[in-house]
Symmetry: C2
Subunit: 363 residues, 2 copies
């Protein structure tokens, strides 16, 4: 049996080994129920307890205020790009969007199906930072202000959102898919945050949305019932059959996160992991990163070899040492090390050692 | 460790034990990849091979013609109730719907968001059969004719669809959620069949749609991209991240079905299982079924105790013998034994013995 790989996938991504081992142990018979979690009615007491525990643990980890609904749904981040305007544009039928990378650009395209989209500012390509807030053309009548706080493809993260640049009274909606749970977050500053699960939460197919309840009840007449935030809130995310196994795995991840010490502890680890990689990229060797240092992602470290002709040799050598899924997104090129919560420090250390060695042997 | 239960859940439902055992074995390291299937990029060679094999096996099992797209998507059957009209109503913006039970009635409600719905006929309640085709008020200008061929809640199955009652040229769209793969099906007679996976396919959160390709390309402008059948077909169901683990489990189920001998063999087994139960219900003892014998479901056997005061005693006694999830849907009451492909004959035999015993001790 080959050992476990060091998995730098951008998503679906590495999960904690402890979580996978527990899922394997419980696969055919969950805690004496005689059933796999996959085989349980979502309305039965066993699964109800699993879902309730998952929501409670998530609320604790993220300090979700009680006036926010926690919704487990389907469709992924790109699905939410449509579901958000279907639910939140309301009668205004207009919203503000900030573009800082590939995902926020896609969000704009999708939102245009449902109303008037005002792009408040667009970062120039290649994406490597955030347009200065003094140049944002916001609209105080917007139904919401949308942004993506971590751009998975480009490796651009907004560490400090300039909340004062958003007109007061306009709810902020953030696609947090690829850095949720990597650090504490003050949800009170947002109207809605959402994300696909397949980075820091669990398996693909599960989507999370956390929505301030006063924003519910304004869904478009053409919003499918299963994606209506208000119906989902009223039914405890069980308006129809939810992705039950995904919720179960997410619950195991939340418990693992609590065992790590919660989000403050995991943030410290994430800072250390990212710093170790950026240190290699910044010393002027064979590698470089092109993102503005103030906006470098802790989750998705994009980098390039100065000699692109060495790309394949770099990937092959990495694979030989058990490091996989390091190739950059096809739209950006180069390399990308996604180092989500479940990627252990040892994986990053192994990558750093390998990059050092690669510079010695190819410099 | 308690043994595995005899699981009669209507969905999420029993899965083959072999499938669960294989999933458990492969959980932390899929075939030497060093990764769980949950941790794989959907664009990597490992998962691409898993998805391609799943689609190929499904096409073989169902004899899917090459001019039909096989789409793996999200949202469940109720999600598809919206996604179907968003994709298929087209400029006509009208469709015919037949109501034979709780699910087809829900489909009508959902479709009304997107266009004009003509109910061709509605079975009277409690649902126990299909309105006679000579009374259907069809519309030859309908974009499609929709029905649900197995009503999970009511236990009503349409074994022989009167195709000649549907105007020629109007594509037939069928919600087959709860009996797909239980028998051979002539897909050529349909424009589209769809269903949530959580009965005969795999885990909840995965949805299947099989669509004749000439019906693609007429999506409503407000159809979210991730639910646009044409975009899904063009991208091999990878327009965005699909529910990867669900597709993997479905693939294992398809391989298990092939090992059982395919759909003709599984149909013979399903006939035998259903007959054993209906025989008990028909002999005039403590139990009865109220569905027209020509429309009784092989998958969801609904039944009642003549003395409803014995309901709890019946459920308690069943549970004591390892039989779970036998309670009927809250909207119907009574009992329901869902006996999908993965419910072994032994489970049905155990239930029959228990019902015999219950009649002796409570008669």
């Amino acid at each position: 049996m080959t050992p476990r790989a060091y998995n730098f996938s951008a998503g679906p991504a590495a999960l904690p080994l402890e979580v996978l081992e527990q899922a394997a142990r419980e696969m055919t018979n969950w805690r004496g129920s005689g059933m796999s979690v996959m085989e349980m009615s979502h309305r039965g007491p066993e699964f109800i307890s699993i879902a309730a525990q998952a929501e409670a643990d998530l609320r604790e980890l993220l300090s979700v205020p009680s006036d926010y609904a926690v919704l487990f749904l389907q469709g992924g981040g790109l699905g939410e790009n449509a579901i958000v305007p279907l639910n939140l544009m309301g009668e205004k039928a207009r919203a503000d969007y900030l573009i800082t990378g590939s995902w926020s650009a896609k969000s704009v395209e999708e939102a245009r199906r449902f109303g008037e989209v005002n792009v408040v500012a667009e970062a120039s390509k290649p994406y490597c930072g955030m347009p200065a807030p003094e140049h944002w053309r916001t609209n105080s009548q917007a139904a919401y202000f949308h942004l993506c706080t971590n751009e998975t493809i480009d490796g651009v993260e907004i560490h400090e959102l300039p909340f004062e640049a958003v007109p007061s009274g306009v709810p902020i909606v953030a696609d947090v898919s690829s850095h949720i749970l990597s650090r504490p977050l003050d949800i009170n500053r947002y109207g809605c945050i959402y994300g696909g699960a397949q980075k820091n939460i669990g398996p693909a197919g599960l989507t999370l949305a956390i929505v301030r309840r006063d924003l519910l009840g304004r869904a478009h007449a053409m919003c499918p019932s299963v994606f209506n935030y208000q119906l989902l809130d009223q039914s405890g995310s069980m308006y129809n059959t939810p992705p039950t196994y995904g919720i179960y795995i997410a619950g195991l991840v939340f418990q693992w996160l609590k065992r790590q010490g919660g989000l403050a502890a995991i943030e410290a680890m994430n800072v250390a992991k990212a710093q170790a990689l950026y240190d290699v990229l910044d010393r002027g060797g064979l590698f470089y990163n092109r993102v503005d240092p103030a906006y470098r992602s802790r989750m998705n470290v994009t980098f390039f070899l100065r000699d692109e002709g060495l790309n394949q040799a770099f990937l092959d050598g990495a694979k030989a040492q058990g490091m996989v899924q390091l190739k950059g997104h096809r739209s950006v090129g180069g390399m990308r090390a996604s180092i989500y919560n479940a990627v252990p420090l040892q994986a990053v250390q192994t990558l750093v050692s390998y990059m050092n060695e690669f510079e010695r042997t190819h410099g």
